[in-house]
């Protein structure tokens, strides 16, 4: 306003000016309307640009305030050709606002814009098109059409962008033009600049969202451009691609969802077992045809992931919904962190995000559990935010965290915000119904609230208690009595009604009080609210049926009162009930059943979240927010049964990989680590259809090129490494030959090992070949790159090197004890597996639990075939460093000279993979032979099994012999008891396994580990803080200690503060994941994720002990 008031000073004389300048909002404007408008007209007609500008500024200011200036149209429109660009701009603003009202006059300006469209300055071309398309005059539709078509092939991307913006405008003006516009859209969709991409997709969404076929050819381009498109464009594109993906790809969770459903059911309601059986059957069926992700689906997920880090809340939300709707269950977890970050944002954004989080928590609770505390409520939050947070907290509640949540809720109940308090009480109610363990605690808490001073609180509690009591009324008659007393004080109708209903329903539990309550209520009947009256009638009827002696008169009194009530509903009810319960001469057939009608067992109410089933709306959309279809909402389609032809997305010339310089720059980095990600899932597919599509091929090639320098050095490193190993292997072989003599127990295994080692050599040779002909085949180059990336992901030249260092260090250590023959061979295997690891990405771990037959001799042929992707199925056992602990089974003295010791060799027990191998060493310390050593009469817990060792015929004096037996402990630490017999004696013996021996290592990548960990949250996670022992100074020691305690394998990890280990239980194959996170000051956090909680707890204890020593 400073400028305009300056003007008024200049003008000085004009009477109306100061008033306007100083008090724009005052009503005085209208009074001097005519005068000033004349004034403005004069100014617009003058030749001075400054005057015109001044006038236009004032006019626009008036428009902004909503004042009508349409009478100035002729004067303004004359200035459309003005040379001054600022005046011009303001005239445009005016035109766009009023053209619709003054169509004829607006046409005067059209020629100027047409001229503008030919201007050499791209800014002017663009703005001419913008204004032209914004003038909503039907006559100029053909001109607009022409202009748009022309602009769509303009040199300047900015003009093309404007053209894309103009499309929906024209469409809304004249829907007839749709077909022509679609052509333009098709053309613009093929545009390769980031500037256009967002706008044209927006136009696509507005004009023809159902023409999904237009997207096919551009799908990969859009995915790849995405990161460089401006933020708003990203949002539109991501939303569109979500829909697209839903029509084109298969549901990645098709197998899991079935499984998950059944398991979740089993958790909460074990009664529908039949149903469950069916489901598991179905799941088994589904499992038979394994899901493979389309590489394009993977591409989308991979390229959107970095956008979670965007500063723009809308982009983050869009990616989050994309992941929620499209990603495999294990990967959805990554969005939680980003969404929690958005919670810091403005309260409006918070509101939207929380709505979406609330929906997500119902479907995938585990995802947000770690962030539970971020949803704690502050007293300063706006009420709607509080209630949403409460919703989320309630959804997140489970057996493990319920106590913390309830404690939180307790503070909320004291809040000043009464709506919020009421919501909190309801939330407690919901927790109580969902989690049986805390039902009594909740109920007691709620009963305490009944003595609260605030009536609203009491009323709400009554309502919730009513619902809870309905579930198990027998045990709580004292609460019902307590509530009966409350009726004197509570005034809130809903609460009164609830109490009356309760008393009526359970009048048998309070036979003395119920009639008395009715008596009191009859007294006050006329003054009650309608819902209370209805419940009084109800109560009367029920009492009449159960206890007619005492209440007959009362009931009749109440019914009489009701008969003359003002409310027809109540009168009707009274009439109906009287007919039903009071026996008269001509009472109908129904009255016989009155008792059944009134006192039928009512099902307990199900308290469920209002956000249930909201996820059929696309998350983040307005429709989801309102839980109703908003105008223009595009339904999110269901997954197709079978995937449409993926080849439609193939593009002839895949040159988009080199788009713009910046893009390249980013691309390099984008591609690199993600490959390894995708490898896990899409690896098999990609090799399977061996890449008919040139698109991703070229991409991977470029990726491997880019990482070239890095991977080369790594490769050389590896080679030296592998040489080392070869040497090692040779040594091992020698030793093994020697060992073969002493133990001929597991020929099968040994042969497999040698096979394997030869296989490795084969593979090495093969690998070199690959290096030579890098570009030979798609799948190869793919795996090449994945290999180098794999390394980089693990941080890792250094780390893998240090790994080998550790290994080297270990080797001598384990070589020292010469009698540990077993371990030697294992050692070797470990080395091989580590080598494998360096070479290739491990097997797809979507099913890490499936027992793998590592003895398969077909492995060799696999390796020869160099099919690279699924070769490494061999489980990798990383041997514990240090000595294997020996336990005593029979002491020399009790055994009368026969000493028996055992240890857990940590070898897989070949005859039965579900058994733990126990290595038993017999030493004969007597002077005579011991004969016929065998096991007899095992006394085992149910389910346990023992596979005995073959009888030892003769054990000469002073000799010792080692045998292996297998015990299936059924994943429990119960002892296996049996008798050890010699030819003369029997000894009772028992083997009790430490929990750490009940598992075998499983190899996981870091990502898989996280994925699996994500699945084992909540009560499956046990986490403890501990102080590391003095000797646990570095990672190395920790790894050693943990692997010594439990038979787990190390999982590579990007952080040096964390060590991760994975294994599975021997007998049931449940995953056991261990994380040790070290902190400053020798503190550490130990986390164990295991489905079997008992195992988890014991393992935590053991590892804690090992680490704190």
């Amino acid at each position: 306003m400073s400028a305009s008031s300056a003007f008024s000073d200049e003008k000085g004389g004009s009477a109306s000016e100061p008033e306007y300048g100083h008090d724009p909002a005052s009503g005085g404007i209208f009074s001097s309307d005519y005068k000033r408008h004349d004034d403005l007209k004069e100014m617009l007609d003058s030749n001075k640009d400054s005057l015109k500008l001044e006038a236009m500024k004032r006019i626009v200011a008036m428009i902004a305030r909503g004042k009508n200036t349409s009478d100035l149209f002729p004067a303004v429109v004359k200035n459309v050709a003005c040379k001054n660009i600022e005046v011009k701009k303001l005239v445009y603003v005016y035109l766009v606002r009023y053209a619709e009202e003054q169509q004829d006059l607006a046409l005067l300006s059209i020629s100027t814009f047409q001229r503008g469209l030919k201007d050499p300055n791209q800014l002017i071309r663009a703005s001419a098109l913008r204004v032209l398309s914004s003038i909503r005059v039907t006559i100029i539709v053909p001109i607009m059409m022409l202009a748009i078509k022309e602009a769509a092939s303009d040199m300047s991307p900015y003009v093309r962008k404007t053209a894309a913006h103009a499309i929906p405008k024209l469409h809304s003006l004249d829907p007839e033009q749709k077909d022509q516009l679609i052509e333009v859209i098709e053309k613009l969709l093929a545009d390769k600049t980031t500037l256009v991409a967002g706008s044209v997709v927006m136009a696509f969404e507005e004009v023809c969202p159902d023409r999904i076929d237009l997207i096919h050819k551009n799908y990969r381009k859009l995915c790849n451009l995405l990161i460089d498109v401006e933020e708003w464009g990203q949002v539109v594109i991501i939303n569109m691609l979500t829909r697209y993906a839903r029509t084109q790809f298969l549901n990645p969770n098709v197998n899991e969802s079935l499984l998950e459903d059944s398991s979740e059911k089993a958790f909460y309601a074990s009664d529908d077992e039949e149903d469950e059986d069916k489901k598991t059957e179905a799941a088994a069926l589904a499992k038979r045809k394994p899901y493979v992700m389309d590489p394009d689906h993977r591409l989308l997920l991979r390229n959107t992931k970095p956008l979670l880090q965007s500063r723009n809340a809308a982009v983050v939300m869009a990616v989050a919904q994309l992941y929620f709707h499209l990603a495999p269950k294990a990967e959805v977890g990554i969005i939680a962190k980003a969404l929690v970050r958005l919670m810091r944002s403005h309260s409006e954004v918070q509101y939207v995000v929380l709505q979406n989080v609330a929906t997500m928590t119902i479907k995938r609770r585990g995802m947000f559990e770690p962030y539970l505390k971020s949803f704690y409520i502050r007293s300063t939050d706006p009420t709607q935010i509080k209630i949403l947070k409460l919703e989320v907290l309630t959804n997140l509640a489970n057996e493990t965290n319920i106590s913390t949540i309830l404690r939180e809720f307790q503070t909320y109940i004291k809040s000043m915000d009464k709506d919020f308090v009421a919501a909190s009480i309801q939330a407690i109610g919901r927790c109580a119904t969902n989690i049986g363990e805390v039902r009594d605690t909740c109920l007691n808490g709620l009963v305490q609230l009944l003595s609260n001073r605030d009536e609203l609180v009491v009323a709400e509690s009554v309502v919730v208690i009513k619902k809870l009591l309905q579930m198990q009324p027998e045990q709580h008659s004292d609460i019902i009595k307590h509530m009966a007393k409350l009726i004197d004080n509570i005034q809130v109708p809903m609460a009164r009604a609830s109490i009356l209903w309760l008393i009526g329903e359970y009048c048998e539990h309070v036979p003395k009080i119920a009639p008395d309550v009715l008596r009191k209520m009859a007294k006050t009947f006329t003054n009650e609210e309608d819902i209370v009256k209805l419940q009084i009638i109800n109560l009367a009827a029920k009492l009449y049926l159960t206890n007619s002696k005492q209440t007959k008169l009362l009931t009749q009194y109440v019914l009489n009162l009701a008969k003359y009530d003002q409310n027809y509903d109540i009168r009707d009810r009274a009439r109906f009930i009287r007919q039903l319960i009071v026996p008269t001469d001509k009472s109908g057939a129904l009255s016989k059943y009155a008792k059944k009608l009134f006192l039928a067992l009512k099902p307990a109410p199900v308290l469920e979240s209002p956000f249930k089933d909201r996820d059929h709306f696309q998350l983040g959309s307005l429709s989801h927010l309102l839980n109703a279809k908003a105008g223009g909402y595009q339904e999110l389609p269901d997954w197709p049964e079978s995937a449409p032809d993926p080849s439609v997305r193939n593009v002839e010339i895949p040159d988009w990989s080199k788009c713009t310089s910046r893009k390249d720059r980013k691309e390099k980095k984008v591609d690199k680590p993600f490959y390894s990600d995708s490898e896990g899932e899409s690896g098999p597919t990609e090799s399977a259809d061996s890449e008919s599509d040139s698109g991703s091929g070229s991409e991977s090639a470029s990726a491997s090129d880019e990482s070239g320098s890095g991977s080369e050095s790594e490769e050389s490193g590896e080679e030296t490494e592998s040489e080392d190993e070869e040497e090692d292997e040779e040594k091992e072989k020698k030793r093994k030959k020697h060992l073969d003599k002493t133990k001929a127990k597991k020929p099968a295994e040994e042969s497999a090992e040698s096979e394997q080692s030869s296989g490795t050599e084969d593979r090495k040779r093969g690998r070199k070949a690959v290096k030579n002909q890098k570009s030979a085949s798609e799948s190869e180059s793919e795996s090449e790159s994945s290999e180098s990336e794999d390394e980089s992901e693990e941080e890792s030249e250094e780390e893998s090197e240090s790994d080998t260092d550790i290994r080297k260090k270990k080797t001598p250590v384990s070589k020292q004890p010469p009698k540990q023959s077993k371990k030697e061979s294992k050692k070797e295997k470990q080395e091989m597996s580590l080598l494998d690891l360096d070479d290739f990405e491990p097997a797809p771990t979507s099913a890490p639990v499936t027992p793998v037959n590592f003895l398969s001799s077909s492995l060799v042929s696999d390796l020869e075939g160099l099919s690279l992707t699924d070769t490494i199925l061999a489980p990798t056992t990383i041997a514990p460093s240090g000595l294997i602990k020996l336990y005593e089974l029979l002491h020399r003295i009790t055994g009368e000279g026969l000493a028996v010791e055992y240890c857990f060799s940590r070898q897989p027990f070949s005859p039965d993979p579900n058994m733990v191998a126990v290595q038993i060493q017999f030493t004969n310390n007597t002077n005579s032979e011991t004969k016929n050593l065998h096991i007899k009469e095992p006394r085992l817990q149910s389910g346990m099994r023992i596979r005995e060792f073959a009888e030892i015929e003769v054990l000469a004096a002073g000799e010792s012999v080692t045998v292996v037996m297998g015990i299936d402990f059924c994943d429990s630490t119960q002892a296996a008891n049996f008798q050890l017999c010699t030819h003369t004696r029997k000894f009772f013996a028992s083997i009790q396994p430490p929990v750490g021996e009940l598992m075998t290592p499983v190899f996981l990548t870091e990502n898989d580990f996280k994925k699996e960990q994500g699945k084992l949250m909540g009560m499956n996670e046990i986490s403890e803080k501990l102080t590391l022992g003095e000797k646990c100074v570095n990672e190395h020691v920790i790894v050693e200690r943990v692997t010594a305690t439990a038979n787990l394998s190390r999982v590579p990890c990007g952080s040096d503060k964390e060590c991760r280990f994975a294994g599975k239980t021997v007998s049931s194959g449940c995953l056991v994941l261990v994380t040790v996170a070290t902190k400053e000051g020798g503190r550490a956090q130990l986390t164990v994720n295991c489905e079997k909680m008992v195992i988890g707890t014991m393992l935590v204890k053991d590892i804690m002990q090992a680490l704190s020593q």
Partner: protein, 414 residues
């Protein structure tokens, strides 16, 4: 799609309206006014209001904004556009700044959205299209008759780095970074931490000539739990090397924001001993608050302010503060105690009586305290910038890093 925008002042004045499609009568706002009547606090007006033909999205900042839309896009989207619109341009956006610059705001809105779809929201571009008003420029303009409107298309709009304009020149090349951390915490009655986390941002003021490529590295990047970046930051470099590599926008911008979650231990720099009680009889209450330093890493606490939202029945407060001043607003029921610098030798204390509305029952609950504070030269998380390297340009810029810790949503329950 954003259809129209209405700005409404706190008093209920509709002082700006802008339509991107056909004009919608301002009578739609009545739905909003109705909702505002119902909600007690302006905060509590539902963000989305449904009307028969439109959806009203309402955003409350220092004044109310209201918009109408047929939405195909996420709601988040629209909310975000709005915030960006004003804050970016004038630095602070209040009713008066908008009223003063109504024409510029209108032009800006026109420029930012086309047909309700965002066209250019990068503030650098907008500043070139329509130059922000400064005193100097308005003087120059009046004399020379030049205008505020740029004549050519901003170069950024077309380049692959839209956030930076070409041909930037400075005589003094400088790059300053402010690491600002906010502690969000909830402490319970006994002073134990219920929940605490750190939210940090790095604000940058980069005035460098040409096209510098900067790399910022931290001593301890692993501290950062979750990060979000300005679009200029190359995310992959961060993923792989944990450094922030970027070509900076010109001038002030927020480089990144980060989050250090509750899993890590968060140092709480202050403790509060409070005792607020209301008596059963006599309609009065007592209040006694003492604030002391806890884990301050040897730095002084500054700008310490304690805010208490009192229950409705509290009429007035008769208190005495050993340090600072207090103020009780009987209308909003907010007690503000401005302490200033905390002296560890002599802990500030606020003590006295509260008088309640006579006859009203004593309030059920105790009010919670919100604490505001500032610690200079300290990032409470321990985050440290290691170095800043400039590539692509020859000159040696001045570099500086400043650390500040503030209290974010820091609440003590009583």
């Amino acid at each position: 799609m954003i259809h129209s925008l209405f700005l409404i002042s706190n008093a209920g004045d509709l002082f700006l309206e802008k339509h991107w499609k056909s004009v919608i009568s301002r009578s739609v706002c009545d739905y909003f006014f109705e909702a505002r009547e119902k909600a007690v606090e302006p905060d509590n007006v539902p963000p989305v209001i449904r009307t028969p033909h439109h959806y009203l999205i309402n955003i409350y900042q220092t004044f109310q904004k209201l918009m109408f839309l047929f939405s195909k896009l996420g709601v988040c989207f629209i909310v975000d556009v709005l915030y960006r619109m004003c804050a970016d341009y004038f630095g602070e956006c209040s009713e008066t700044t908008i009223k003063d610059n109504v024409v510029i705001v209108y032009e800006l809105l026109e420029e930012m959205l086309d047909n309700g779809f965002p066209l250019a929201t990068e503030s650098n571009i907008l500043k070139e299209l329509i130059r922000p008003p400064t005193i100097l420029r308005s003087m120059v303009n009046t004399i020379t008759g030049s205008s505020n409107v740029g004549e050519t298309l901003p170069t950024g709009q077309l380049s692959t780095i839209p956030w930076r304009r070409a041909g930037v020149k400075y005589t003094n090349n400088e790059a300053y970074f402010d690491v600002v951390e906010e502690i969000d915490a909830i402490l319970d009655k006994s002073g134990t931490t219920v929940f605490a986390e750190i939210q940090g941002v790095i604000d940058a003021c980069v005035k460098l000539s040409g096209m510098p490529d900067l790399t910022l590295s931290f001593m301890n990047p692993r501290l950062l739990d979750d990060v979000s970046f300005h679009p200029c930051v190359r995310y992959k470099r961060w993923e792989s090397e944990r450094v922030i590599a970027f070509i900076p926008p010109d001038g002030n911008f927020q480089l990144m924001s980060y989050h250090i979650s509750a899993q890590n231990l968060v140092a709480i720099p202050v403790y509060v001993k409070q005792n607020i009680s209301f008596f059963e009889t006599g309609s009065s209450g007592r209040l006694d608050i003492t604030v002391g330093p806890k884990q301050t890493m040897g730095k002084t606490l500054e700008c310490l302010v304690v805010t208490v939202h009192m229950p409705k029945v509290v009429l007035s407060a008769n208190l005495s503060a050993t340090q600072g001043t207090y103020n009780y607003d009987p209308v909003t029921k907010i007690l503000v105690w401005d302490i200033g610098k905390l002296n560890p030798q002599k802990l500030p204390n606020l003590k006295g009586s509260l008088s309640l509305q006579s006859g009203a029952p004593k309030p059920e609950e105790n009010p919670s305290l919100n604490i505001d504070l500032k610690i200079q030269q300290l990032a409470i998380s321990g985050l440290k910038v290691n170095r800043l390297d400039v590539y692509g340009e020859k000159y040696k810029p001045f570099k500086g890093v400043k650390y500040v810790t503030k209290a974010g949503k820091f609440q003590v329950r009583t």
